[in-house]
């Protein structure tokens, strides 16, 4: 508790907290409000009189209908869901196995392999996107969701591995040894005993991987071209910034809807997300 008077509590504690929350959340409020305001209200200059930008008296869903009727937004949502989910599953698969190997198995180069995987995490997508475009072309994956499904794991796997290593390390060795004494093979022990213990970790890694996939932009921008293949971030950027017709309403509507799946997944698993994030940092 903060010692001191009510005034002290308010100035040092409540007010800063409120300011933080307001600043962090205001853009989302702005997104929501803009999505529902009609064009006439939206485009009034900042110093026009009699103008309250923070609320609308004439909410409209015209921007949302525009989004779905005139663009492939629905398709983009499906694409992004598909890509994110598949990439997450692949990354989890690889990450769990690799994490187990690095955390619980004894073999030469274990340490350096861990370091190598970590190093690959440090190679940013913006470094690789130009040569990767060539490689994607050589594999004939250009303009297909697979170009992303196979490349997203490059930044998801290191993270998942690292996270899972932390969780696996925390499981006592005795569990495995008991199982093996009872006759289970190492493989069986891993699959039936250890991995189930790490389910919270797997859940955390999966959720974070899912949000990271949804957040990826440059690969999607460069590898995909047809409108029906695009992901939500790329689609919103390229097809709602248009000519001279005002589209901010739909843009915000698109941004809002595009954020919803991630927000929903996150809201169901907040605890897992947070523990995953902090686990990776502490681990």
């Amino acid at each position: 508790m903060i010692e001191g008077s009510l005034l002290r509590r308010w100035t040092f504690y409540y007010i800063p907290l409120i300011v933080f929350v307001l600043v962090l959340l205001f853009p989302f409020y702005w997104m929501v409000i803009t999505s529902f305001r009609p064009d006439g209200e939206l485009y009034r200059p900042w110093n026009a009189p009699n103008y309250n930008p923070f609320w609308t008296s004439f909410p409209t869903i015209e921007h949302f209908t525009y989004l779905f009727e005139e663009t492939d937004f629905g398709q983009w949502m499906m694409n992004t869901m598909f890509i994110a989910t598949t990439a997450t599953l692949i990354s989890l698969f690889c990450g769990v196995l690799a994490g187990y190997a690095l955390a619980r198995l004894n073999f030469p180069w274990a340490g350096s392999l861990g370091t190598v995987i970590f190093i690959t995490y440090l190679v940013p997508q913006t470094l690789l996107f130009i040569p990767l475009a060539e490689i994607i072309r050589d594999f004939k994956l250009g303009d297909t969701p697979w170009s992303l499904i196979l490349t997203y794991p490059t930044f998801l796997i290191p993270f998942c591995t690292w996270l899972m290593m932390g969780y696996f390390k925390a499981i006592p060795k005795e569990l495995e040894e008991c199982a093996r004494i009872d006759g289970a093979s190492r493989w069986k022990a891993m699959v039936y005993i250890i991995i189930p213990c790490a389910v919270p970790g797997i859940l955390s890694a999966g959720i974070i991987a899912f949000t990271l996939s949804w957040n990826e932009f440059i690969y999607a921008l460069v590898f995909l071209s047809s409108p029906e293949q695009k992901t939500v971030p790329v689609g919103v950027t390229s097809e709602l910034i248009r000519g001279d017709v005002f589209f901010w309403g739909s843009l915000m509507a698109g941004a809002l809807l595009g954020s919803v799946p991630v927000a929903i997944v996150y809201s169901f698993f907040v605890e897992h997300y947070v523990s995953g994030l902090t686990g990776s940092v502490k681990g």
């Binding site: 485009y43 200059p45 250009g142 460069v222 071209s225 409108p227 000519g243 001279d244």
Partner: protein, 441 residues
């Protein structure tokens, strides 16, 4: 994988005529429908038209009509103009993408190695329509072959508020830059500045900066196409002028504007004049009740157009050139050419041209006599845009090097830097060194 299977089926089905049994066996074995039921497809990538009515016409009328008449599936995709270049590069790099891609200006030279020779289509148009303007030809053809089929020239003129200019005593658009500057000063003092973008946008920024430079006598290279000539007294004069002109008369937010900001600013009454295509005016025609002046009258009645003012060396205009490239990686080249011929057929092109309402000037002389130019006097100045334009790379050719300089916004940045505080001499020197890097490579 699906592609190779389909191709082998087509091959097999193709030889069905010669060896029926193998063909049929092949088709049956692959379990796919025979080749002749396969539709030809053409994917056309264009910018999002600043005249929405034209895009609507294409999507709802012309394309379905073409599909029916030509028996092929045609996909029209539109993207933001600034994204066309990255899209094109990405498509070429990944070896797959739209069959026909729209190119701006002389970007055709940048993609020279990746396009198909379309001289056959272009020369037909040249013959049937009384000749393609030299201006357009210089962008689309390198002298040996046509890299793209000219489409249209969206002209750039200054759109201005008639009443506001009249209030300051100008009953017609100023003739010279100095007059324009004096007028702009008065307007800005009343909160009605001139609006101009100096950002990295393909249309309005080069459309202003290149003619500005030329009208003062500046140029990028000499006629030999090699010697960089931008660091001259004339260019320096133009930069000095622009720096003062900007502060005195312009909305200084213009540094961050793209091609749409000036439209919105004009339509919401925060600027009094701007270089633009006809889209501002056309928008006011589209929604006369939404766009009103501060007095409550329809804004469409308060807009006039004029070419950029004269400078000491003359009066110039640089108008956006749009043409269509047929990409080498395309697997539907014949169908694409067929479609290009179809869309350029007079009766089809005319429909599109009319929907533009004068925003776009076609590339051949024949269309100058079209009645639409007489329908609305406000749009009359746009008629001769394609005829009078001058191409970047002057006084050399608008070739790949000029295209590179254009796509790097060197000339525009020269002005932008000066306006932001760099000494004019330094910004001109900077432009010179950048151009030298390109022209000496």
């Amino acid at each position: 994988m699906a592609d190779t299977k389909r191709r082998s089926v087509i091959k097999l089905a193709g030889s069905a005529a010669a060896v029926a049994s193998t063909g049929m066996a092949g088709i049956l074995a692959s379990g796919r429908t025979p080749a002749y039921a396969q539709q030809k497809t053409v994917h056309w990538l264009r910018w999002v038209d600043f005249v929405p009515a034209s895009d609507a016409l294409l999507k709802k009328e012309l394309i379905p009509q073409a599909e029916k008449e030509l028996g092929m599936k045609i996909t029209l995709e539109t993207v933001n103009g600034n994204d066309l270049q990255p899209r094109t590069t990405a498509a070429i790099q990944s070896g797959t993408g739209p069959d026909i891609i729209m190119a701006f200006n002389n970007y055709t030279y940048i993609y020279q190695n990746s396009v198909v020779d379309v001289s056959d289509v272009a020369l037909e148009i040249d013959k049937n329509e009384g000749g393609i303007y030299k201006y357009c030809k210089s962008f689309c053809s390198d002298g040996k072959m046509y890299m793209s089929v000219p489409w249209v020239v969206p002209g750039g003129m200054v759109a201005y508020r008639k009443s506001w200019f009249a209030e300051e005593g100008a009953n017609k658009f100023p003739d010279t830059w100095d007059e324009y500057r004096a007028l702009g000063k008065k307007l800005k003092a009343k909160g009605r500045p001139i609006g101009q973008t100096l950002g990295h946008t393909f249309g309005d920024a080069p459309g202003f900066t290149y003619p500005l430079m030329w009208s003062f006598g500046g140029k990028e290279v000499e006629a030999d196409g090699k010697t960089v000539a931008i660091n001259s007294k004339e260019t320096l004069e133009s930069v000095k002028f622009m720096t003062a002109f900007w502060k005195e008369a312009h909305d200084e937010g213009g540094l961050a504007w793209d091609d749409t900001n000036n439209n919105r600013a004009f339509l919401s009454g925060t600027i009094s004049s701007t270089l633009n295509g006809a889209s501002i005016y056309i928008e006011t025609l589209r929604k006369p009740d939404q766009y009103k002046t501060e007095k409550g009258t329809p804004m469409k009645d308060d807009i006039l157009h004029s070419p950029l003012p004269k400078g000491p060396a003359g009066q110039f205009g640089f108008h956006l050139m749009q043409s269509d490239m047929l990409m080498k990686y395309s697997k539907n080249q014949d169908a694409a050419k067929q479609f290009l011929r179809w869309i350029h057929a007079e009766k089809n092109y005319e429909k599109w041209f009319v929907s533009q309402k004068g925003y776009g000037t076609p590339c051949t002389a024949k269309w100058e006599s079209h009645p639409i130019w007489n329908a609305d006097p406000v749009l009359a100045p746009f008629k001769v845009a394609a005829r009078l334009g001058q191409a970047p790379g002057y006084a050399g050719l608008p070739n790949g090097k000029a295209a590179e300089a254009l796509s790097k916004y060197i000339v525009t940045d020269m002005y932008a830097k000066a306006v932001q505080g760099m000494a004019p001499e330094d910004s001109v020197k900077w432009a010179e060194s950048e151009l030298k890097k390109i022209y000496s490579a």
